[in-house]
């Protein structure tokens, strides 16, 4: 079970981010979580949105370089040690973590972590086996 992440290539210059968020807002796309990795010249914006198909379409039309990636969304308790427990599962299984970012739910007292690994199936099996609850795209809409 994975969720769709929208990845956008952004040039590292003034006004790029606001142009993207404006475009999404205009088309009623809601951002649930985001992270950005930046270098001197460019950044890679990763978004979890309520409607990745529309987001992909409108941003592509504006000329952005877009990629949809499957990532894992893990529900964890909003208290000390919970994130560490989830990461510990992957570490013991020698699954290398590429990057992660987290977001909070509006309604529940839970946090969600987005994990990017090389082998989704293996990581999912390990996490589910350790009792973690993974979220799907349908869940993202409800958060």
């Amino acid at each position: 079970m994975s969720i769709k992440q929208l990845t956008v290539f952004v040039e590292n210059k003034q006004g790029t981010m606001v142009a993207i968020t404006d475009t999404l807002a205009k088309h009623n796309v809601n951002i649930r979580a985001l992270s950005i990795a930046e270098t001197e010249a460019f950044g890679i914006l990763r978004l979890i949105v309520n409607d990745e198909k529309t987001a992909e379409k409108i941003l592509s039309e504006e000329g952005y370089l877009i990629k949809i990636t499957d990532v894992i969304g893990v529900k964890i308790g909003d208290e000390p040690g919970k994130l560490s427990a989830a990461l510990g599962v992957l570490d013991r299984a020698r699954i290398n973590l590429e990057y992660l970012y987290a977001f909070m739910s509006r309604t529940e007292k839970h946090a969600y972590v987005v994990l990017r690994v090389e082998d989704n199936a293996a990581a999912e099996a390990e996490l589910v086996g350790a009792g973690f609850h993974l979220i799907a795209d349908a869940d993202v809409l409800k958060l």
């Binding site: 992440q5 990845t7 290539f9 040039e11 270098t39 460019f42 890679i44 952005y64 370089l65 990629k67």
Partner: protein, 435 residues
């Protein structure tokens, strides 16, 4: 494979003998030019060189250069070395880079030129049993007339098609069993695509060889044409200023073009200093016409950048070989003292799986040149991992370093993000010139 030559004695002549022949011709030619071309006599006088100072090809470096600008200044008769009544033909360039060049030919000049083209056709496997379709333009352009003449000399049945009217080209090719085609590589590719669309497979097409030139083309394009037409594709080089196609031609080895050096003496010079460079070094190609009577250019700077090689060729020809030109001196950049051509960058990009959509930015910081290349990523190369993009940039920079000898900073950018003006991207931004 048995080797055929059109003029075996010349084409396989031992190098020392060839040099002797060139020396004898050069001494006579310099005198002919000095006596008959006041424009060049003035250039020699200014340099303090007399015809008697030229005793052989080892003295060639003493002679002044001729450039495209000289041809413009001397237009139309200033470099003519024979009375007009001895001339039988004019050919001309397209005039895309300024005033047209008009070149004059005596009958002997035409004969030698056609011999050169005949050597190219025979090197491509042509014999009198072949049907040779000449689909270069006829007229002032040298392509059609040159190969037409060469084809006659070999004894091929010649189809003087000229360029265009692809339907008719295909009809003649198929109905009359053309075995050799001569045209520009882009037209060959177009004819190939048209044949494919009409359902012809390579084995249905009677062609066995093609002689293609008059514009730059890549190895990739060669393989494509060879596959669609089911032929072996041979490169040919020439320029109106020296005669036309046939200055050099490819043999079956396909590793460079043999220069008809009994007629055209080649040198490679440093385009900045004019200094003659040793064999194997990259620089500007310079030709001296050894036999031309009417329009004998001495040390004409072609502005083509290439390399010469005397490496032994499997075809048995001893004629010196030139590599396919790698660019034009007009495009050359000097970055940190190294000559860099946009065409080299293009080659690396194609080899590494990128589209040739790039922009070179040169600047100067703390008295050192900076060298940045923006390269458009293909959408399928894009990844959500920064480390992977940085690794792609690094690997591309290494490939460029291998080709150029200096290390550029590569920046991968989004597709279509490099500004295009009138559909054509600006390839080079040299900010140093503003200082």
């Amino acid at each position: 494979m048995s080797q055929n030559y059109y003029q075996k004695e010349i084409e396989t002549m031992p190098v020392e003998e060839m040099k002797k022949l060139q020396s004898d011709k050069l001494v006579k030619q310099v005198k002919h030019v000095y006596d008959n071309v006041p424009y060049y006599r003035d250039l020699m006088d200014q340099k303090g060189v007399k015809p008697e100072d030229i005793k052989g090809i080892e003295d060639l470096y003493k002679l002044p250069f001729l450039t495209k600008a000289d041809l413009r200044d001397a237009y139309p008769y200033g470099l003519l070395a024979k009375p007009l009544e001895d001339c039988v033909r004019i050919q001309s360039t397209s005039g895309t880079t300024g005033r047209r060049v008009v070149a004059f030919y005596t009958q002997k000049d035409i004969d030698l030129w056609e011999d050169c083209c005949a050597r190219a056709i025979v090197a491509a496997g042509g014999t009198k049993a072949d049907v040779c379709q000449v689909a270069y333009g006829y007229g002032l352009f040298t392509g059609g007339p040159g190969l037409n003449g060469g084809s006659h000399r070999v004894g091929c049945l010649t189809l003087p098609m000229s360029s265009g009217n692809t339907e008719r080209q295909i009809q003649f090719m198929m109905d009359l069993n053309a075995t050799i085609i001569c045209c520009t590589p882009s037209y060959a590719a177009y004819i190939g695509e048209s044949l494919k669309e009409q359902g012809y497979k390579p084995e249905d097409i009677p062609l066995k060889a093609g002689i293609f030139g008059a514009e730059p083309w890549t190895e990739e394009m060669r393989r494509g044409i060879e596959q669609t037409l089911g032929i072996k594709a041979y490169d040919i080089y020439g320029l109106t200023e020296t005669s036309g196609p046939g200055v050099s031609f490819e043999c079956s080895e396909q590793t460079g073009m043999h220069i008809n050096e009994d007629h055209f003496l080649a040198e490679i010079i440093d385009p900045e200093t004019g200094e003659v460079l040793p064999e194997g070094e990259k620089g500007e190609l310079v030709f001296t016409s050894l036999d031309k009577e009417a329009f004998p250019l001495l040390r004409y700077r072609t502005r083509d950048i290439c390399v010469l090689s005397r490496k032994k060729c499997s075809c048995g020809r001893t004629l010196i070989k030139m590599a396919k030109p790698m660019g034009r001196t007009d495009d050359m950049l000097i970055i940190r003292g190294v000559n860099v051509f946009p065409s080299q960058i293009e080659t690396v990009l194609l080899n590494e799986g990128y589209q040739p959509n790039y922009q070179i930015i040169v600047d100067r910081e703390n008295n050192t040149d900076t060298f940045d290349v923006n390269v458009e990523m293909n959408p399928e190369q894009f990844t959500d991992k920064v480390s992977q993009i940085l690794a792609m940039e690094k690997s591309l920079a290494n490939a460029m370093k291998t080709m150029l000898g200096i290390n550029p900073k590569i920046h991968l950018v989004a597709p279509k993000s490099i500004v295009r003006s009138e559909g054509k991207a600006v390839r080079v931004i040299d900010k140093r010139k503003l200082i």
